[in-house]
Symmetry: C2
Subunit: 433 residues, 2 copies
């Protein structure tokens, strides 16, 4: 395909004018000079699709349509920006735009996580670009740096706080709030949706991790293959015990090379308080990458918000517009090396924090340590609290062991006569910093 | 000029095989597969220039020459990597390579800081690229993200720890070490040179800031125009007082928009302990940028070291090689908007930390506050220490005032009858975080 080059202006078709779409539309109008300079061509908002035509969007009514498909098909639209969110009709519209030879810029992590490879394939066949800097980490430059600036590296490890809602909730819980209270605060501040499922069950973070592992490790997997555990059931008591042991609790998306395979998982994680990610608080996002040449590199900033996300969308817009203006051919996608395999969660090795409520009877320790030993799990340290009126808390920190062994040990510990309940099992990372 | 396109391989001419050059040469040999994939073409080390041919560099002797200019002129060299460092002959060689239509990749901050605009001009005239990701922040992707990923933003503020040597020294001093001891430790660990002038007098940091402000603000200035103050004379006692007041001391490179002009300065700076840069310790580097859309964005990592710097050099190499392989034309440089002016240091407003050694006599406070008031400087807080055997320490924290007023007030305070000495004046930043 390729482009004719030397276009007079680049005409944008915008699908969806929510918070981010509105910020993009406003920037296209208000900072025309900055964008034209960066793109070496004027960029014009030509058409925009909304669901409800009656609401004021701060966009010239004459540009609006309720028919998103008409924008994808319009001859006077050079580039499509998809900001509708959700799987359909976004996926179909993106695919059709690419089929018609229109570059697409999207912030749609759900579509990219589940259908990214297929859409990239269409883009490659048609010789156009599919870009998505805004899909992970909002305003933080991340996709382009990973793709281009670390190109000489083999990525050894990637750890990310890529969901601001849950990071805010955990920041509140670290200050002693209960989960429900912290969630309500997040909702009040607009960080969490009325239905917080996508965030608190780590669905959003798993989507983003699926996108990141594709770029960083060449690992093609769907979010459904990624082990995922959210915040429900967490007790601020465990954050307090963790802090005593030198750990901060984060909902960490982790991926790393392990014996030629790649781990990919999202779960609450105790991270050394010395690790740079441990200090990323509130709704902020950050990604920590260890390249085999670069060493540790960290990118942080605002993971959400209209303007921050618009900054990333517009970086892609100027990139694509500049290419159209100069008539540069699209560089074919890099041939993928032999793709690595996903390490099954059962084989993933982590240290583990366990909190048991036990009856304060003689022989408890002997019983607990026997169970761990039977599963080949070494015990690194123990905290026992004097019981108040109820059962005593025993907190165990193990050495690294496979997930399968830890899960079996947890089940057996729950069955011990002295055990009232296993209150918590939280994975602990000794991450490179 | 432009390229013929479809080259079979890209042949590298390497100038200088020190720590970074050796890492680059090793990577070109050892990770040929990764680089070829990223560049869509094989990349070959064709020739390399060294000062002393007799030393083993881990590079095939047949490729080596003592005559750097012969590489720049060689017909079988497509791309020149300049890693000699220092102003000459590096500048002349880079200029000649560009004149001959060869893209140049360099890590040479000195040459770029002083001659960047002239070299960029030659590159633009010849239609070739001059790239320098490695010149600032070692292995941290920084130049490309600032140039491309934040292109839609007006940068409001940039603060950077861009000299690892001084950051290591300040980390030691925060732990109570005296400057001389901390410097000796840095030298022992290889973080500081035998002659540490470039680092401790902030010459290196000013060079890097000159490069950054050109990209981030479009401000063309030489390092000679940037206010610069290094670490000599700092007393760990002031770091201790600062910590009591909630501040960490960093050698901060600061640039920001101020009423249509741009401040650019490097000096020891008290920064709120809550600011993300306050926690960047040891030899690490980090840059914190506030864009008007993106909000705060931070990039951190290793600012030096052979492999980390090679990672950045090779990002540029793959970028240039890919362009050569695909026959993409070089995108003309972005037309600069009306260039902003540098705000003279006298007009820069900061808060200020002052420590005076005073005789413990009545009326000291009245004298000191009168001097400040006469220069329109508000007093935010005071710490006074009981004298031991010597004079008493009085620590003053002022509200923001122009540098000229602060300097005059300092001079007058030194002349007060009660003043034995002004022990320290350190600028304090209330940075956006």
């Amino acid at each position: 395909m390729g482009y004719s080059g030397g276009v007079k202006s680049v005409r944008i078709g915008l699908l969806g004018i929510g918070t981010v779409g509105r910020a993009v539309a406003r920037a296209l109008s208000e900072r025309r000079d900055v964008l034209s300079r960066a793109a070496a061509t004027p960029i014009v908002l030509q058409r925009a699709a909304v669901r409800d035509l009656s609401r004021d969007r701060g966009v010239d009514q004459a540009l609006l349509t309720g028919d998103a498909r008409s924008i994808v098909q319009a001859d006077d639209v050079d580039v499509v920006i998809e900001l509708m969110g959700g799987e359909e009709p976004a996926r179909t519209l993106i695919a059709e735009a690419l089929q018609r030879g229109k570059p697409v810029i999207t912030a749609n992590k759900r579509v990219l996580a589940w259908h990214g490879p297929q859409l990239a394939q269409i883009a490659a066949e048609r010789g156009v670009e599919l870009r998505f800097e805004a899909a992970v980490g909002g305003g933080i430059p991340l996709i382009a740096p990973l793709t281009d600036d670390l190109a000489a590296n083999r990525v050894l490890e990637l750890r990310a706080i890529i969901n601001g809602t849950t990071n805010y909730i955990l920041t509140r819980m670290a200050a002693g709030e209960k989960y429900d209270v912290a969630l309500a605060q997040a909702q009040k501040l607009g960080y969490a949706e009325a239905d917080p499922t996508d965030d608190v069950d780590a669905i959003d973070a798993a989507d983003k991790l699926a996108i990141l592992v594709r770029i960083a490790f060449g690992l093609s997997c769907t979010p459904g293959q990624i082990f995922r555990q959210g915040l429900r059931g967490l007790d601020p008591q465990d954050l307090a015990y963790g802090r005593e042991m030198g750990y901060a609790l984060k909902l960490l998306a982790t991926a790393r090379q392990t014996d030629g395979r790649v781990e990919a998982r999202v779960h609450p994680t105790f991270l050394s308080a010395e690790h740079p990610l441990a200090r990323v608080d509130g709704p902020r996002n950050a990604v920590h990458i260890v390249g085999d040449l670069s060493g540790p590199v960290m990118f942080g900033g605002l993971g959400a918000g209209g303007d921050a996300t618009a900054s990333a969308v517009l970086a892609d817009v100027t990139h694509v517009a500049r290419r159209l203006a100069l008539g540069d051919p699209v560089q074919p996608p890099r041939p993928t090396p032999s793709a690595p395999q996903l390490l099954p969660m059962d084989e993933v090795r982590t240290r583990c924090y366990l909190r048991l409520a036990v009856d304060d009877v003689p022989g408890v320790f002997a019983q607990v340590t026997r169970v761990l030993a039977e599963h080949g799990i070494g015990l690194a340290s123990v905290i026992q609290r004097e019981p108040g009126t109820g059962p005593a808390d025993v907190v165990l920190l193990t050495y690294a062991a496979p997930e399968s062994a830890l899960a079996r040990a947890e089940a057996e510990l729950a069955q011990l006569p002295c055990t009232r309940a296993v209150r918590a099992r939280i994975r602990v990372e000794e991450a490179r910093s």
